[in-house]
């Protein structure tokens, strides 16, 4: 896992891109699993949860970054949690106002964003040390990575389990949906499958790097 910076670093495109691949919260750091499995039974739910979580991540981390010199070390976790809970409450009301159907579909998992370890972890490891600009960009990257992970699960589960994507039917009437995919076991299987793929890609890359770095041996 890449080491997290203690000194202020310049904001580059990498600050954003890191969250998508190397430090992808779900596939690499294995954080925030609960909502990923629970609301990924359809693509629209997955997208909504991803956006809501990204908002909370960026907003709360920005506030933490702004206040980072004022928060004494001893009460930092308590402070972070209060800040995160505030933004989650705001998002909760916002979603209820936007669409009651979406709110019922996501259920208690909106409020459970507050215990998404990715947000608290980021606040502790990054936002408390970096200036506002870097925090926002990095937060957007991590949030995007999270949303991407959610979507990759949600899309697969919805296509296989209901034959549609974002509610639009893809196949004809003869399509027999693989129902288990939208049920709980499906969530576990699909996430496990994605982790397998990620692990395989990484192993492949590592092998290629090893081959390039090592001088030729007699095989």
């Amino acid at each position: 896992m890449p080491t997290l910076p203690n000194t202020q670093e310049p904001v580059t495109l990498d600050t954003f891109l890191r969250g998508l691949w190397e430090e992808n919260p779900v596939f690499v750091m294995l954080l925030g699993m609960c909502p990923v499995l629970a609301v990924s039974n359809s693509a629209i739910n997955a997208l909504a949860m991803g956006l809501a979580s990204t908002f909370v991540l960026v907003a709360s981390n920005s506030l933490v970054s702004l206040l980072r010199h004022f928060i004494p070390k001893q009460v930092r976790i308590a402070t972070y949690i209060i800040i995160i809970a505030t933004f989650v409450t705001m998002v909760d009301y916002a979603i209820q106002a936007i669409s009651l159907d979406l709110y019922n579909a996501l259920g208690a998992f909106i409020q459970l964003i507050v215990v998404n370890c990715m947000i608290l972890g980021r606040a502790e490891a990054y936002a408390s040390k970096q200036p506002l600009g870097a925090t926002i960009i990095n937060g957007l990257g991590i949030g995007a990575g999270f949303t991407l992970a959610l979507l990759s699960l949600g899309a697969v589960r919805e296509i296989l389990g209901a034959g549609s994507l974002f509610g639009i039917a893809l196949f004809g009437d003869n399509f027999q949906p693989w129902v288990v995919m939208i049920l709980p076991p499906g969530g576990f299987f699909v996430l496990g499958a994605w982790l397998l793929i990620f692990a395989w890609v990484r192993q492949h890359r590592q092998q290629r790097l090893d081959q390039e770095g090592v001088p030729q041996h007699d095989s």
Binding site: L30, L31, M33, C34, P35, L37, A38, A78, I81, I82, A85, T86, V88, T89, D92, Y93, A108, Q111, L112, V114, V115, N116, C117, L120, V180, L183, P184, P185, G186, G187, F188, F189, L191, G192, A193, L195, L196, A199, W200, Q203
Partner: protein
């Protein structure tokens, strides 16, 4: 058993709608602590205790918030109570069972961010359970969590001796196993409901 009887709620939370395998709550500790049976058991007990305490406090807080019509503070209050309950468990464990405290290590304070605990509080509120129903619900959820954890720990300990492809080691394997467990638990659907 009627739909809102205490026994039904307990069985439902523990088995039919198991918190980990059906509701997807508590996945992080489930993946992290399920490697050994002893740690799984201790974690399970700690979770049951914290769930029970949080559930009772959540019931009281919710009642108070509704009285004063400040429900919007609910989430902040719940999470504060949970953090305090975990602190309490930590201090008690440190005093009376230091070995256990060391064995659980970082996972104990992580119970605070365990979505299962907050999940118990949130669900019992949204389903408007009475006090006894809340107790049954939190106990059922804790017991169910422990069952799932123990089952997973047992399987993983067995698997340590087996030859498994390297890319699937770790989280991927655990998730696949969890999927199979979840599938198995689906067989409990309908337990406790009347057949009229």
């Amino acid at each position: 058993m009627t739909a809102d009887s205490v026994t039904f709620i307990f069985l439902n939370a523990a088995i039919v709608n198991n918190f980990v395998l059906a509701m997807f709550l508590g996945i992080c500790p489930f993946l992290g602590v399920s490697a050994k049976r002893e740690t799984a058991w201790s974690m399970g007990l700690a979770v049951i205790f914290v769930m029970l305490v949080s559930s009772i406090c959540a019931y009281g807080i919710n009642w108070m918030l509704t009285e004063f019509e400040i429900e919007y503070l609910r989430l902040i209050c719940y999470i504060a109570v949970i953090a305090s309950a975990v602190q309490l468990v930590e201090m008690t464990m440190k005093k009376y069972s230091p070995a256990l405290f060391r064995a659980l290590g970082i996972f104990l304070p992580l119970i605070t961010t365990n979505c299962a605990i907050l999940g118990v509080a949130l669900f019992q509120t949204s389903r408007e359970y009475s006090f006894m129903q809340s107790i049954a619900f939190s106990l059922g959820a804790g017991v169910g969590f422990t069952i799932a954890l123990m089952l997973m720990a047992g399987m993983r300990q067995q698997l340590e001796l087996a030859k498994v492809p390297s890319i699937s080691q770790g989280a991927a394997m655990t998730l696949m196993l969890a999927g199979l467990l979840s599938l198995a638990f689906m067989g409990f659907a309908g337990l406790g409901s009347q057949h009229g």
